[in-house]
Each structure stands twice: as C-alpha cells, then as structure tokens.
Amino acid sequence: MEDLLRTAVERMQSAGAEFCDAKYQLRKSTSIRIVDGSVRTLTEQSLGGACFRARVGGSWGYATTVQLDKKTLLESCLQAAKNARLGGALGARIPDSPSRNRQVRADVRVHPDDVPIEEKLGYVVDLDKAQKIDPRVANSNSDYRDEVKTNLLVNSFGSSLKWEEVRTRLIAFTIASDGGRQEMYFEIADGTKGFELMKKNDVTAMGKLSGEEAVKMLAAKKPPSGYMTCISDPKNTGTLAHEVIGHASEADEIVQERSFLTGAVGKRVASDLITMVDDGTIKGAYGTIPFDDEGTPSSRTVIIENGIYKGYLQSLETAADMGATPTGNGRAQDFGRRIWVRMTNTFFDAGDWTLEEMIEGVKFGVLADKSISGMEDPVGGGFEAKTLRGFVIENGEIKDMIRSFTTTGSALEILKTTDAVGDHVQLDGGMCGKGIEDFVWVSGGGPYCRSKLVVGGG
C-alpha cells in the first residue's frame, strides 16, 4: 500500500498539485450495548479506505474510496487533482517541510486486539447489573467501545508515516422514574488506552453510582434563571474552555476573520487567573494524537496565559496563510472527511482555590455538575453549555439539587468575571463537531471555576 500511495503522490504532482498527500486508514472497533440486561448490540466494525488530497492555488481537491485495487486508487488520485483545479481559489503556497519517516505504535498496556470479546462482554454485563440499585431505576444502558485506528500517510514533502491510535470508552447511562417524572444520569470512563482502562476501573461502583444519582435526580428542582454566579465543575469548565475560546482559536476562523479573537494576540481576554492550553501530547487523554491527519506531530499550544491571548491552533494551510508554524491541529473524522483545524485536549490550567473556598464566597448562585453538550459561536462571541444538573448555592452553602440547565453569555465578559480557579485539573473525553458535523475525539477540562453567567432551564 505504501508504494501505491507514493505513486499516487507523484501522479498528483504531475497533474499540477502544488502540495498533496495520500492516506490509507483502517479503523477497527468492537461495540457492546446492553440495555436493561439484554445485549442489544454486539458488533465488530471495520472501516478502511483511502483518501487523496491535492492543492492547486488555494483550493483543495479530495477523492476518497473504499475500493483499494491499484486501478481505482490511481484513478482516484487524479480525480483529486482535477477537483483541486476546479476550485480556482487563491491561497498561500504550503511551504516545504522536512520529510518525516516514522512508525508509532499506540502506547497501551493491554491492546484490545488481545482481549477476547467474552471478557469485554463480562465487564459490560456487570456495569449494567450494577445500575439496578432501586426499583425507580426504569432503564439501564451500558456501552463499551474500543477502536484501533491505523494510519499510513505519504505526502509531497517526502514523508512516510505510519501510526496507530487506540481508544476505549465505557458509559453507564441510567433513567430513573417515579411514575410521573423521568430523569437521567451517566458516568463515563475513557482514554487513549487499551483494556487496562476496564481492568483499573471498578465497573460495579461506576454502575451503582449512575443508578443512585439518577434516582436522586427525581427530587431535583427547577433551576433558577437569570444572570448569576456559577461555579463550573471540571467537565463544565472544559466545555467553557472548548466552546467559549477553543473553537474561536481555530486558525481557519481567524483566516476568514470569522472569529471574535481575530487580532487578539497580545491582548487581555480574561482575568489574570486564566491560563488555557490545547495539548495533543498528554498521555492517555482522549484527544491525544501522535500526528494530526496531515502528518504534523501534535504539540502543546498555550492559548491564553494569565489572561493574555497568546496564539491560535494551526493546520498546514492556515499556518501558510498566516506565516505561522503548524501546531498539529489539522484533523478529520475519518479518511472520508475534510480536514479542518480542530482541538485535541483543551483545558484551563489550575489555580489555587479549593472548591470549599469558592462556595463560601457565594451569596446566591449555582454549582454546575456534569456537562452534556455545548455549542460554539466564533462570530458572535457567545456560547451555549448544557449541564446535566446542579446545586443552588445560598449564603456560602450548597442547598437544593436542580435539574438540567443551560449557561450562556458573552465569552470575553465571562472570562473577565472569573474570580476563582480551582487547584486540580481533570480531563474528560468527548466528541467535537465543526458545527454539527465532522466529529473528532477530544477531551476538555480544567479545575472548578467561578464566573458570572446567564443561567436557565426548563
């Protein structure tokens, strides 16, 4: 395959590509889903194919195929070059880069390929059983997924890279009902890890916790609404980092002058308590990658340092456009999708407050507990973060549990109101879309943070 990809690169160059790459990717996974004790899904998946990408002027042409015979592959690469010529956009030339020749195996202790499917199933059965701790648990759901992704990339820099990524994820998701009302809770464990993630994780405790908390949620009250103090837990802090600043720091948004952070380097954008980083090199984190999908090694990028905006996340293209250095953030969902500038592991760095100290200082506010999802707004500088539940804080004390709510506000105003940052960083994995498509694995997090936001929930 490597020889074929190299030939494809040569043909795309002959067809006018100023830069091009050829990639083969194989993604193999095992998925198990147990619902109320029944195995609803036990499946093995295999998604393999090739992607050819050529650049002419400022336009890209892609051609992807799952037909891997020589004739189809060499026809596809020419289609990519043809598509690139059709675009006609102007753009900077991708500067030459030293060629890289490396092979990287995933750094895992127990490779999923070495674990029998029966053993994987056993853990998921235990997770599901453990959720049924109370008659009010109406529905238990347990999901396991491991994925082994093998990439082979050849490009017109002369690089030839082969690397492997392994991810494992386990989810307990419980619905509780008291007859009239239903509420949900979930627990997730994940990482760029092998089956050691399961062996180290007490699945019974995880399932039990999900069941117990779902039942407690039945007593949760309607959240307050309005502009108020909000202490975000590490998951919600991660969503804030990701949605408020992370997406707006993706350099394709900057090149298009679509982001409110265009021209922000060197300016104060947050209180001096805030330092924010994107780091694709953190061992075991869900968004960690050895190389991005363009073959650039992943790296640590400081986005905000003590409140001052420092820099953007770059792909080969945006780095060329801005005269910057690629940061290893050119990522695609899979071989069949476009490469965009994307985050990896994005988080606020630690401060020196304890959670107790933060709560003590709040006259009235909420503690946001467990993030569900978020949505960026690079143009308007807003954001939306949905929280599974929370707690009212009154006169420095935790009071009632409240059900799901949403937080929003102006990104720059919020970060300037941050007056306390916790002393411990936690990362949690998830999926991130560019808008509502093109999902890649990432993680986000940070410490507990105290800010002022608009809060409300139905």
Binding site: S59, Y62, V379
Partner: protein, 454 residues
Amino acid sequence: MDLDSIMSSAYRAATKEGPDQVEIYGVATRTLSLYVDDSAVKNIEEKIDQGLIVRIADGKRLGQSSAACSTLKEAELTARAAVRTARLSPVDEMFRQFPAAGGKVRVRPRVWDENVAHLSGQELVDIAKLIVDSSLEGDKIKVPRGMVRTASLESKVRNSNGVDVRHAGTMIYLNFTTMTNGAKPGEGVESFYSPHLSGLDPTAIGKSLREKAMASSKTVAFKGKRKGTTIIGPDNLADMLMSSAGEALSAENVHRKRSRWIGKVGEEVTSRSITVKDDPSDGRGMLSASYDDEGVAASKKTLVEKGVLKSYIYDSYNASLDSIEPSGNGLRRRPDDVQGIYLDPVGVSPMNMVVTPGRKSKEELIASVDDGVLIDRVAHPEVNPITGAFGLEVRCGFIIKGGEMVKTIDRALLIGNMFDALRNVHDIASDSTVFRSCIVPTVSFDGIELVGSG
C-alpha cells in the same frame, strides 16, 4: 466488486456457518461535496463508499458485524465475524425473528433524481457561486463558510425469511453562512434539504442569507425576563420536535420506559391543533422510501391526530415485543449524509415526520401576536429527550409588539419544556419546510420564557 456480488458472498458465507437467521444490509453511495471558505470555492470532494452490515440470529443469540467492503473476501470475513459475535452473545429472550417477507409495497415516493445523481463538479461550482454572488453586497457581507453536498444511494436488504428489497435515492443538502463586516458582525444561516435539484433556488437562498446577516448585525443583548407568545420556525422546530415527540413516539423508548408518552395511546398529548403524520410517500422527504432499512414495507401513518396520540412507531424487534407487525420505522439512513451508513445500527425513527400546517401565512401569524418573540436562530435546537426540558441560546430573535417586529435581540436563553409547549400551541402557520427528516410549519407557543442578562 458490485454491491450484489458482495452481498451474495456475505450471505453464502454466513449461511454456511449454520445460524438460524441471516440478514444482510448493503449500501453503495457516491457523494460529491463542495465547500466555500471566505466566498471562494475551497474544496471539492468525490467520495465512493460501499459496505455491509450482517445481522445474525443463532437461536435467540444476536450478533452483527459491519465493514466497508469492496472484495468478496472482505464480505466473507464480515459474515463470519457476525456469526462469531452471535455465538458469543447471551440469549435475548425477547427476540423473535428478523422481518418476514410478503409485505406489499404501499408507497412509491419519487426520491431519485438523475440530475442529482449525475451532477458534475463544475455544476456544483456554478450552484455555489450563484449562492455566494447573491449573498454579497459590496464589502458589507461575506460568505465565510458554505457547503453543498449531493449524493446518490442504493441500498438492499436480504434476509433468510425471504426479504429481498432495494431502495435508491438521491439527496442535496446545503448549509451556508453569511457574515457582515464591521465591529459587531451579524451572521445569517440558510439550509436546504431535498432529494431533487428542481426545488433549489440558489439566488433566493443567497438573498435570504444577505437579509439574515443584515438583520443579525442589528441585535442588542436582551435584558431581564419575559413570558409571552414565542414563534419558532421550521429550521429550529424540526430538531426540537424530533428530540422530543420523535423520541416519545419510538416503541424502543416506550419499552425501555424512557418515553414521555408511555401508555398514552388514545389520550391527548398535545394541543388539539396538532396533527403529526409519518409520511414516507412524500417525495420531498429525505428518508422517504418504499421500505425501511430492515426491508419492511413503509406506510403512511397518523401518529398524533388533533392532539390525541394514535400510535407509536416500530422496528421489527420492538414490534415483536408487542406481538404486532413492524410499522416500517427501522432506519439506518440519515437525512444529510450517506457515508458509512452500514456502520450504524437500526434505530426507531419517523421516516418523514410531517406536522399538518395551519391556515394563516407566517406573516399573518406574526401580525396576530400582540406581545411575543420570533426566534430566528439559536445555538443548537436540541431538547432533553428524556425530560423535554430545553435552554437554548438565542443568537437572533425579534421582539414583537402589536404585530410588528420592533427590536432584534441576542444573548438570551429560551427556556421551557417541549412536551409542555406542545400542549400550549398558540397558532400554526401555513408554510411547510423540509428540514432533515421533518416537514414542519412555523408554530407559535405560549408559556416559553426568555431570559437575558441584567
């Protein structure tokens, strides 16, 4: 290797292993996409995809395997993996059988358009340029991002109970954003969904994008709280309905005790002005088809009639739990993308959820509101599928006073519960727009709260 050959190879290989039941779902697709960045054509992509998912029942043990497949050997490996997973799986006492053959064709929607299937890259460029050119207004507006995706799909389902059906469809989906230049940029967003090219009017889309961006540039942050009539258009309402009513109608969710409409067939669940149908005969529907993705004949069904819940929707598994025939709602396909469909498990979903429109035009509906808000754009119109609660960041809305739109707002949260909102429908407009797998009108609701800062 063509789809028929790899499906036959997988079927033979699976049968040879001796399981009780075999089902093969195969799909071959071609996608041609174009991306606009910064008002210029940035990417053109052609994608050829083909794959299988093999489901096996060995007694009451179920397993499956899926793969991108282009060779007979890959098809055989996929089939054997499915048999292996079935034999490792615990017994599922609730399982009966894969769908039986014999369901007569009840609907024949026109969802194949040769013009879409054979669209060239140059034709796609021409469409995109027309949208961009119609959006621009001097140096006031730009098109930072846009995408046009066209696709054709051929899918087949074959099982050991005699099911052997084929579906072919095309789709065109586009999503563009415009943005005004200046210190406080406004953003406009437009989408289009259709199996056919004929309904696409790039100039009208461009004009709407321009107008929306200009309107959005005039927003002011909403302050305080208000509760009045809230008008929600099809582009937001479709997702809000699918993630609430769509989930509550699913027999899977009913059986798992996570539907809000458990045991409510025959009862009033919405305002009497609401009628919801699943209409796979409608050629505008992105998922309309003669058969669902398990090979069950699809049919037109009334799900909610004048507020009363008439029936749930079923795939074969959940139908067998209730000892009834499946309703043809076992779906793998998606309304906006055809890549990798063979990787997705069967889910229970309306094929084409249609809300019956009202009589007033959208303009008349707005004019009839004394004190309200028209929501133009929210961050992401999703609703908690379990509880129905929502809190949506409003990125552009219009305050209505005395039937007139008097102010453009942003920075607010729209707060409510979708199941409650469906019981508090104020009025329904006569428009109807396709959005993903829904065709819905503009609807106004009472009781939804708007909260801003200050």
